[in-house]
Subunit: 190 residues, 2 copies
């Protein structure tokens, strides 16, 4: 018998996404979003949901583009800070010392210090309620040389992405491999 | 200098979501979806993206409802199996031995054995490409008695949710708490 907790945004896990944008004046900005995820394989798309009150909201519409960096354990402090401050008041790149890099594919910047970045062009804008969902087509994914596995694919244990625990507002890391997908369940086939 | 990996659905982490539905005949079904996440705080909403070819796709539209169970380490085998088989061919609850429970709020079932479930009514259907995104309003979240912390909130370390590594198709667990959100970054404030 399960116990009710009410109508709340409780999903486990949620990611820690570094959403990069330029404002009208060309100032780069970065915010922290846990409301997001992959939403289509073909075309490859990622969705991030932002409140209209955020500085990044207007920037995405203005520039029709954004980037999604993967926050990692080594940069937890910076990742948290960009979720506290607003780009309306200051330049978060200057404050944190993070390095803004202009995407060569879309009109948005990313922070060099986060190990993986998705460069996205705005595909759809979905009004839901307090949050607007931005669906971005992933034009490219780029990773630092030291987060690739020997097989040439990105290695989650080298990326060390942060996980956001929405129930207790905490950051966690990723544990070791437990099993292979599309494999460990095969034994159940009748 | 980052290295390009191409336009791929590489986000870290992604969740392992157990999407529960009834078909036209009332047979309960469960599928495994990693393309999803919270997409709005008010009303509280969760999005899951499914290919049109899946059996669950038509079920969600038919019943205007679905549930989202959180796959956990103890049930990795069952979680993987429901991502391999199709409800078109067989009854996955019968095969796995999972117990279907009818939601008391929406027209969809969930598996009793997964520790947390979100009960959702269909709010929006977004066609993106290969995937259709279903936005569900979370009507309630329910958790097993043994996955709550002493403060009455759900405890991620007791839930032990699975993480899907999309690069190497593997399941991982959640590591320990690394820091508090809206807190560890405060020291960066100028």
């Amino acid at each position: 018998m399960k116990k009710s907790v009410g109508a709340k945004t409780l999903l486990f896990p949620t990611p820690v996404l570094m959403v990069g944008t330029y404002d009208q004046a060309g100032k780069p900005n970065l915010m922290n979003a846990a409301w997001g995820g992959i939403c289509c394989s073909q075309p490859p798309c990622v969705a991030v949901s932002l409140r209209k009150a955020t500085y990044s909201h207007a920037c995405i519409i203005e520039r029709q583009a954004f980037t999604v960096g993967i926050a990692c354990e080594d940069r937890m402090v910076e990742a948290d800070y960009v979720g506290i401050a607003s780009g309306r008041d200051l330049d978060k790149f200057a404050v944190t010392g993070l390095t803004p890099v202009k995407s060569d594919l879309v009109d948005a910047p990313y922070a060099a210090e986060f190990p993986v970045v998705l460069e996205c062009r705005l595909l759809q804008v979905i009004e839901i309620g307090l949050h607007t969902q931005f669906i971005g087509e992933i034009m490219d994914v780029k990773g630092d040389a030291d987060v690739f596995a020997e097989d040439g694919n990105l290695d989650i244990m080298k990326i060390r992405p942060l996980i956001y625990d929405t129930a207790h507002k905490g950051y966690h890391g990723v544990g070791p491999l437990l099993g292979k997908a599309f494999s460990v369940g095969k034994g159940m086939q009748p």
